[in-house]
């Protein structure tokens, strides 16, 4: 990306004398001058900003670039975020999604929904009856499986979003979190989707794809026991772990979003409110005064907050296991 580019997660809506820009990433809206925004939308990363409209003077262009940068409407590189311990890099920013592509995404989404469980059961059954007897390539399978599982997970979220008419997909990328953990991300917007089941499917799509790949890898490990079984077993283990661990009810993880949608209305509503019920006596008492439903809500909130200990428990398990290996 040689020149600045308009962030495709910033949507515009014309108002009377200005344009309302909505930053779907930060969930913020602000009003900006029409001529500045319409000029900014032409920034594609390949064209020199000063040559888009030669009639506009350079000082004005520099000021516009500064303003658009301040409002996070443009980006100057593929780096999405650079903070302490976190680094996110975009690897694919879509240009335009056609109707034919949407049909493909719909088919992919349906295939995931219908096939992940049968494939997983088939894979486990076949592998248990034809166990692998070559461990060669296991570690290569772990590394390849980790990269493949992360990317496929995010691609599936994006495809499930695009399978819905009002879903929006902005970009996919990779990065590092907490200094050491490799991550992948997909920027999507499901706010305009009304159907709860569609929103749940968008959040579950990543997990379904991991479990489908786990089942497929186990099947292949059983089919080629002498040569590639170790490699496919490594892929299956990574995908299985990633798929299952993404189901837990920890903040920011797909499982928490799903349960929040099932219990409440919006993805983060139950997560945010449950914290208040557990840590604030006033809010808890106010809810309990509503009667037996209030008691159920507070009980659910306590269970949910207790389960936030899952990720710390996982880290402790991993660290202690590593210490155990070296002892």
């Amino acid at each position: 990306m040689r020149y600045p580019k308009w962030n495709n997660y910033c949507a515009i809506k014309r108002k009377d004398n200005a344009v309302e820009v909505t930053n779907n990433l930060l969930d913020e809206s602000f009003l900006l001058p029409t001529d500045m925004v319409l000029w900014g939308k032409q920034l594609d990363g390949k064209t020199n900003p000063f040559s888009i409209d030669p009639t506009i003077n350079r000082v004005t262009i520099r000021n516009w670039l500064k303003t658009l940068d301040a409002f996070d409407c443009i980006r100057r590189s593929r780096v999405l975020m650079k903070a302490k311990g976190t680094f996110l890099y975009s690897i694919y920013i879509p240009k335009k999604i056609t109707v034919n592509m949407c049909v493909f995404f719909w088919l992919y989404n349906k295939a995931l929904q219908l096939l992940f469980l049968p494939m997983l059961i088939l894979g486990i059954y076949y592998f248990s009856t034809h166990p692998a007897y070559s461990s060669g390539g296991l570690y290569l399978g772990f590394i390849f499986g980790l990269a493949l599982s992360m990317l496929l997970h995010e691609i599936s979220h994006a495809c499930a979003t695009l399978a819905c008419p009002k879903g929006r997909f902005f970009e996919i990328g990779i990065g590092i979190s907490n200094f050491i953990m490799p991550i992948a991300y997909a920027l999507i917007d499901e706010k305009c989707i009304k159907s709860k089941f569609q929103k749940i499917q968008i959040n579950l799509a990543g997990i379904e794809s991991n479990l489908l790949l786990c089942g497929l890898s186990l099947l292949l490990a059983g089919l080629f026991p002498e040569t590639f079984s170790g490699f496919f077993l490594g892929i299956a283990i990574q995908n299985g772990f990633l798929g299952l661990l993404n189901l837990v009810f920890c903040n920011g993880i797909d499982g928490a979003n799903v349960i929040s949608l099932l219990l409440g209305d919006n993805t983060n509503e139950f997560i945010n409110k449950s914290r208040g019920f557990v840590f604030s006596k006033k809010k808890r008492q106010k809810e309990l005064n509503k009667g037996i439903t209030g008691y159920a809500i507070v009980t659910a909130a306590f269970v949910f907050q207790f389960l936030q200990l899952t990720l710390p428990a996982l880290y402790i398990w991993n660290v202690l296991s590593i210490i155990e290996v070296f002892e």
Binding site: V248, F249, V258, I259, L262, G264, A296, V303, L320
Partner: protein, 126 residues
């Protein structure tokens, strides 16, 4: 009013204790089919007026307690079958907690989707 509150309290205790006790027997015979029957019973119980329009919330709460005995046995079984037995008590507890959380999540999401499928019209929680 007092009689109504007593009736509701008894009903609440019954809906939690009956599935929990039943799942202890399910544990003894390791029969997941009996657990499915218990949860189907809970689904029918959700037709009671006390649970009306809040079926997902009540399924979450009831299933949390009802599945404790089965999940503990499953965690022990999975821990011994799929993970090497090593390390001290800290590893044992953290490993068990993570496996329990994953099992719990799978059950709750499956039951939640089934409940939402049968009971589509529900009030907003907040």
């Amino acid at each position: 009013m007092k009689k109504k509150n007593k009736a509701y309290s008894s009903l609440f205790i019954a809906t939690i204790t009956i599935p929990t006790i039943s799942s202890i027997f399910a544990v003894r015979y390791l029969s997941l089919i009996s657990l499915i029957i218990i949860m189907a019973g809970v689904l029918l119980m959700l037709r009671l007026p006390i649970f009306k329009h809040r079926e997902n919330l009540w399924m979450f709460v009831i299933a949390t307690f009802a599945t404790i005995p089965v999940n503990i046995i499953l965690v022990k079984h999975i821990s011994e079958s799929f993970f090497f037995d090593y390390g001290g008590i800290a590893i044992y507890i953290s490993k068990g907690f993570v496996i329990y959380a994953v099992l719990f999540a799978v059950e709750q999401i499956a039951l939640g989707i089934i409940t939402r499928f049968f009971y589509r019209k529900q009030y907003k929680l907040f």
